[in-house]
């Protein structure tokens, strides 16, 4: 069980590193997917080893997958929109929503 949790922790840290360092917005979204997957591994691990009377952990992971898919759809639509208007999707370039 500890192995699975450690794997999830390292994967989450890798995703965190990617979210902070990427300039490309699509790269940030891909790193976010890595973090979602780390969280899912944690849920399923605890479901298998600690709370085995039901499958609520797996169900929660499925909900996370669905919400992450919706997030990716809207996020990539925003990326296309930003690219069309500013000809670039580097996250340090567009600061139009800053006060």
């Amino acid at each position: 069980m500890v192995n699975y949790l450690a794997l999830a922790a390292i994967l989450f840290a890798i995703g965190l590193f990617g979210v902070i360092t990427r300039r490309n917005t699509i790269g940030i979204l891909m790193s976010l997917e890595l973090m979602f997957n780390a969280v899912n591994i944690n849920f399923v691990t605890f479901n298998k080893f600690v709370a085995t009377d039901s499958l609520v952990g797996q169900l929660f992971a499925i909900f996370i997958v669905v919400v992450a898919a919706a997030e990716a759809v809207v996020g990539l639509a925003l990326v296309i929109l930003v690219y069309r208007n500013w000809r670039g999707i580097d996250s340090d370039k567009y600061s139009i929503m800053k006060w």
């Binding site: 922790a9 840290a13 890798i14 699509i26 890595l34 399923v44 039901s54 990539l76 639509a77 340090d92």
Partner: protein, 169 residues
């Protein structure tokens, strides 16, 4: 199911695949190669789910992530290909700080995991019929979240269409 003796080797192979491809996702220069390694990483995570007796989740992972989200990412990369083609710098100047933050987080989490013994490991195993149990849960106890999630998907679909269509069409 995988035999108990085999699980160790399979787990280490899958974990190595997840971590190596995950690291390449955040470190490669070419964003298209990152998307390819994201596909490999998500497939290996589906294998991890199989080891953890989550067959339906593994299938959903392959269908949704590998089949849909990754393809969406690759489409978006191709539509913004002017950036991927040129060898532009893909990382910002926070790389060293980010490395320390994620190292502190990861090592801290591992130390916490290794030092904790309060989890009472269950003796009994998971329900045998994975898909049937999930279906029953979705239709009884988690009916409301299930319906809310379908509304959320509809909203995301409409939102993406509204955002990405051309003005005036």
């Amino acid at each position: 199911m995988v035999e108990a003796a085999d699980t160790g080797v399979v787990f280490w192979l899958l974990a190595a695949a997840v971590l190596i491809s995950g690291f390449l996702v955040v470190s490669l220069k070419n964003i298209f190669h990152c998307a390819i390694f994201l596909v490999i990483c998500l497939t290996a995570v589906a294998g991890i789910f199989l080891l953890l007796d989550a067959e339906f989740l593994a299938a959903a992972q392959v269908l949704i992530y590998v089949g849909a989200v990754s393809i969406l990412m690759i489409f978006a990369i191709m539509l913004t290909s002017r950036l991927a083609a040129h060898n532009v710098i893909q990382t910002n100047r926070h790389a060293i700080i980010a490395f320390f933050i994620s190292m502190v987080f990861g090592l801290g989490a591992i130390a916490l995991i290794a030092g904790t013994h309060i989890w009472r490991l269950a003796i009994e195993t998971l329900p045998a019929d994975n898909i049937a149990t999930i279906g029953k849960l979705l239709m009884t106890e988690f009916m409301l979240p299930f319906e809310v999630v379908s509304v959320l998907l509809l909203a995301a679909m409409i939102g993406a269409i509204v955002l990405a269509r051309k003005e005036g069409s």
